[in-house]
């Protein structure tokens, strides 16, 4: 397969995508709140509300109980930024997934550093979240390796049939989105009404702003990963030419991301918060066997050649 770099000057694309990333993530949160409000028969905040929130947070005084909270917020932000960097240079998918997971570990550490009972509960629940979501996410690049032969996103983006081989990836990414955007039945680590933002409790001021911006990058990363499984560049590059095909493909990925956002918001509004041990049970008893069946089918077809 031709590498992406044959098709387009990668540097410009990477820089544009990286600059757009936080804004697209912010838009995801803004649109999410608005659609959520409309679903609840309200008007909802303006679309730029997350931007105002972060702007306000930067002018607040820092009221941290522990000076380690700042570095942990920074760690969360910077690992998400690194993950997005790996994504936009079309690099290694496994590194990308691992970096996203490590960012969540810093949120847990921030919760522990908060030194209050609520933040400890939230931090421990965040660890359970990581235990539930991350193994599934880690299996996706390995599935891609089996199908494509490499981890590189540049090769993945040129594979139009990836969804036929790894359909469970869409379910896993939506599951990860629901959990990491703290929506829906699984928002246990920052359960607002119950443990008052759990592990984020003792963050304030610019620490919280860094966490918010980190969430923007994280949203962009996850929605982009969802879009990576819907590739139309190979099909379109014939009739439309390479550059236009990539542009149309990116627009389609944007729409796929929007659809994913709608699904997440819909799940959020349609369900209630579950008891915290439902999440590991759901992940280990339902998602993990489904993943195993998918991987086994890939083996049967591609590696052992049974059909």
């Amino acid at each position: 397969m031709a590498l992406f770099s044959d098709v387009l000057d990668l540097t410009i694309l990477s820089i544009i995508l990286f600059l757009l990333a936080p804004f697209l993530g912010m838009a995801a949160m803004g649109i999410g709140r608005r659609i959520s409000a409309r679903m609840q028969n309200r008007v909802g905040p303006p679309l730029l509300q997350p931007w105002y929130d972060v702007q306000k947070l930067f002018m607040k005084k820092d009221q941290s109980t522990n000076s380690l909270i700042g570095p942990m917020a920074f760690g969360f932000l910077i690992f998400n930024v690194m993950a997005v960097v790996v994504l936009v240079i079309l690099g290694d998918l496994l590194m990308f997934v691992i970096l996203l997971g490590m960012a969540q570990l810093f949120l847990s550490l921030g919760g522990f550093a908060g030194s209050s009972p609520y933040s400890h509960i939230g931090a421990n629940r965040n660890l359970l979240q990581i235990l539930s979501v991350e193994p599934l996410m880690l299996a996706i690049p390995i599935g891609v390796l089996l199908v494509n032969g490499t981890y590189y996103i540049s090769d993945l983006a040129l594979n139009a049939e990836i969804l036929l081989y790894l359909p469970v990836a869409v379910a896993i990414i939506l599951f990860a989105l629901v959990v990491w955007m703290q929506k829906g039945p699984f928002d246990m680590s920052t359960a607002h009404q119950e443990i008052l933002y759990g592990n984020l409790l003792e963050f304030s001021g610019k620490n919280l702003a860094m966490v918010e911006i980190g969430h923007w990058f994280e949203n962009f990363a996850l929605f982009a990963m969802l879009g990576l499984f819907f590739n139309f560049t190979p099909l379109l590059s014939g009739p439309l030419g390479p550059v236009l095909a990539v542009v149309v493909d990116l627009v389609i990925k944007l729409l796929i991301g929007l659809v994913g956002l709608l699904v997440v918001i819909w799940i959020d509004n349609a369900t209630t918060r579950q008891h915290w041990d439902r999440l590991p049970k759901f992940s280990f008893y339902i998602m993990l066997p489904v993943l195993f069946i998918n991987i086994l089918l890939i083996y049967m077809k591609l590696v052992w050649g049974w059909f």
């Binding site: 009221q63 941290s64 109980t65 522990n66 000076s67 380690l68 700042g70 570095p71 920074f74 760690g75 910077i78 690992f79 690194m82 790996v86 690099g91 290694d92 496994l94 590194m95 691992i98 970096l99 997971g101 490590m102 570990l105 847990s108 550490l109 919760g111 522990f112 550093a113 908060g114 030194s115 209050s116 009972p117 609520y118 933040s119 400890h120 931090a123 421990n124 660890l127 990581i130 235990l131 991350e134 193994p135 880690l138 299996a139 390995i142 390796l145 089996l146 032969g149 490499t150 981890y151 008052l196 409790l201 003792e202 041990d277 993990l288 993943l291 195993f292 991987i295 086994l296 083996y299």
Partner: protein, 634 residues
């Protein structure tokens, strides 16, 4: 005699002699002097061996033969000396078996003594195989043993001077162990390896039993039983090798074994000894279902846990499997089941560790898991896999020693053995916290060595779908309990009382921490060359068919991590300012007490350990059958 040959002899014999010298002293200062002198000499000699290998242009698949011609004294050759020492050692085991009333040690030691005496009478030529061999793999283990071992011994001097007893005997066994471990990894003659192997078992018994109370003696007895059984399996494998390859000088030489490309692959007599030697490796490295001896051994003083049960002795088991990897990989079925044993240990201990409250037992679970990962990588046997196995060995030794030393320091200074007791280390002992944080981060964060090995493991495990599932679950489970422990040390409640930490604690710890970071930074320099120089891998040229691991991606991670360290240092210095209350729902004058859930109701430890062990036995039986299948019996 070449200079490097003298160096090898000194590396093996000197620590034993220094240990004997230590028997005479009880106070801290002379013991410190002995340990320091030993450390300096041993480290310098190990570094000299690197230069010796390069000076002799040891290239692909070559090694330095260190023979043992000539007589030592009174007409006694080295081979005869080791033979008599071996008989004496087995006799000591028989006496020990009677003394501790062990129905495993006594008969097994007796059987081994009879077997080896009979074997050596009837196979005189095979016993005369080449004595020692030095190649880069041995050198890696010698370096780990010398440098990490010396740092732990220095820590141990301070540790044992505070309220412990029998220091002289303790340091005799510690130093003797260092020498004997060097001997084991430098051995070319399988009989020598067997002797040094059993000698480490002996040191292990006396070190675990050091405290002398009922619990220690019971755990030492169990450890001796499992590892002596492993030694018996090793001897059985050696005897079968001699049977296959005949009564000549090449049949018991490890280097000759791994260089063989003409193995009769469909021969059960070649697959079975490999299985038995691997089995002995599993017992020494405490893989499931043999992990309980290592968990019980945590009652020993912390220097013992750090030295024997994480950095060096248990690495002897994985050394054997890495060394035999070119041979294992020629048997598809056997390779797969050994990989399964390793991966299964990895995932089961990672999940079991989540409910562990005691610091040292948690570290023991993690050790077993990482050793399982090394075994899996060594069994898969491609270039990248074995290179990753060696990288993981190095970095795991360094980081795990650091973590054990931290646990021991908390135990000594704050008198708490559980994770909840290490709360607030951030303010109570900042120097200790800094080193501990580096240790934890190097265990799972990118761009450090353990992470790189896990990355390689995830990639190499695609030979089998079940291996993939085991690895993805295990990798994440490993992060969970480490993050929880680090988080507890960050949490500060009330007014923490700062305590001084002696420099003999923080010195070795910071050396290990900085070492882990620096070694990881230099990794691209030696990673690719690592495998080219190790015996047995050059001609097999088993390349991983999918990708070549490219590490330029880790440089940004390294830069980010260094940036994070600067911010953390700055945060740690900023102590003053108005104290902000944590949120407690508006309750005032509230003494905040924090704790973590350990999910005991979901992972009832004993019951789950039993299930894990039963499943481990099943996996081993499958491995045995696999060896028979590989050998063409079915």
């Amino acid at each position: 005699m070449e200079a490097y040959e003298i160096a090898v002899w000194v590396l093996i014999a000197l620590p034993v002699l220094m240990g004997a010298l230590a028997l005479l002293f009880k106070k801290k200062t002379p013991l410190l002097a002995i340990v320091a002198v030993n450390s300096i000499i041993v480290i310098l000699l190990s570094i000299y061996l690197i230069l010796a290998l390069q000076a002799n242009n040891i290239g692909q698949g070559q090694y330095l033969k260190i023979g043992a011609e000539g007589v030592i004294a009174g007409g006694l050759t080295v081979h005869q000396l080791i033979m008599y020492l071996d008989w004496a050692l087995l006799f000591i085991f028989i006496v020990l078996g009677i003394y501790i009333r062990s129905w495993v040690v006594l008969p097994l030691a007796l059987v081994q003594l009879v077997a080896i005496v009979w074997f050596e009478q009837n196979n005189g030529a095979a016993v005369e195989a080449n004595a020692f061999a030095l190649d880069y793999l041995s050198l890696v283990f010698v370096l780990i043993c010398s440098i990490v071992g010396s740092l732990i011994a220095l820590y141990g001097v301070q540790y044992m001077s505070e309220g412990e007893h029998n220091q002289g005997r303790f340091f005799f066994f510690i130093l003797a162990f260092l020498g004997v471990m060097n001997g084991a990894v430098l051995s070319d003659n399988m009989i020598f390896l067997y002797f040094f192997w059993e000698a480490t078992t002996l040191c292990c018994y006396f070190l675990i039993a050091h405290e002398g109370d009922k619990v220690s003696l019971a755990n030492a007895k169990w450890a001796a039983e499992v590892t002596v059984a492993g030694g018996a399996a090793l001897l059985l494998g050696i005897l079968m090798f001699a049977n296959v390859f005949g009564n000549n000088e090449e049949s018991l030489s490890i280097m000759s074994l791994v260089e063989r490309t003409d193995l009769p692959v469909a021969s059960v007599f070649v697959a079975m000894p490999i299985f038995f030697v691997s089995l002995s490796g599993f017992t020494k490295s405490a893989q499931v279902p043999f992990q309980s001896w290592l968990l019980g051994a945590m009652v020993a003083p912390t220097p013992v846990s750090a030295l024997l049960h994480s950095s060096t002795m248990v690495k002897l088991g994985v050394y054997v499997i890495i060394r035999m990897s070119p041979v294992i990989v020629q048997f598809d079925w056997l390779m797969l089941v050994i990989a399964f044993v390793g991966a299964y240990s990895f995932v089961s201990t990672a999940l079991l560790a989540i409910q562990e409250r005691s610091m040292k037992r948690l570290l023991a679970f993690s050790t077993v898991g990482n050793l399982g990962l090394i075994i899996m990588l060594a069994a898969i046997g491609t270039r990248e896999a074995v290179a990753a196995a060696i990288v993981l060995t190095i970095f795991h030794a360094v980081s795990k020693a650091l973590l054990f030393l931290s646990a021991g320091t908390v135990q000594k200074i704050f008198e708490r053995k559980d994770i909840e007791g290490s709360e607030g280390l951030f303010r109570r002992a900042p120097a200790l916290f800094g080193a501990f944080m580096v240790g934890i981060f190097t265990m799972f964060l990118t761009p450090f060595g353990v992470f790189i090995a896990k990355y390689a493991a995830l990639t190499e495990a695609i030979i089998n779908p079940v291996l993939i599932m085991m690895l993805v679950v295990g990798s994440i489970a490993c992060e969970v309990f480490y993050v929880r422990w680090l988080g507890r040390t960050m949490a500060v409640t009330g007014e923490p009382v700062k305590k001084e930490v002696p420099s003999l604690y923080t010195g070795p710890m910071w050396t290990l921490g900085i070492g882990a970071v620096v070694l990881a930074a230099m990794l691209p320099l030696y990673y690719s060359g690592l495998l080219d120089h190790i015996v047995g891998f050059n001609h097999l040229d088993v390349t991983f068919p999918y990708i070549s691991l490219d590490y330029t991606g880790f440089i940004p991670s390294a830069m980010i991590f260094i940036g994070l360290l600067f911010i953390l240092y700055y945060a740690m210095r900023d102590d003053g300012g108005k104290k902000v209350e944590p949120y407690t729902g508006g309750m005032y004058d509230y003494k905040v007490e924090l704790s973590c859930p350990y999910f005991e109701q979901y992972t009832k430890a004993t019951k789950n350990m039993l299930y894990a062990e039963i499943l481990g036995v099943v996996v081993l039986i499958v491995a045995f059958i696999g060896a028979l299948v590989a050998g063409g019996v079915f």
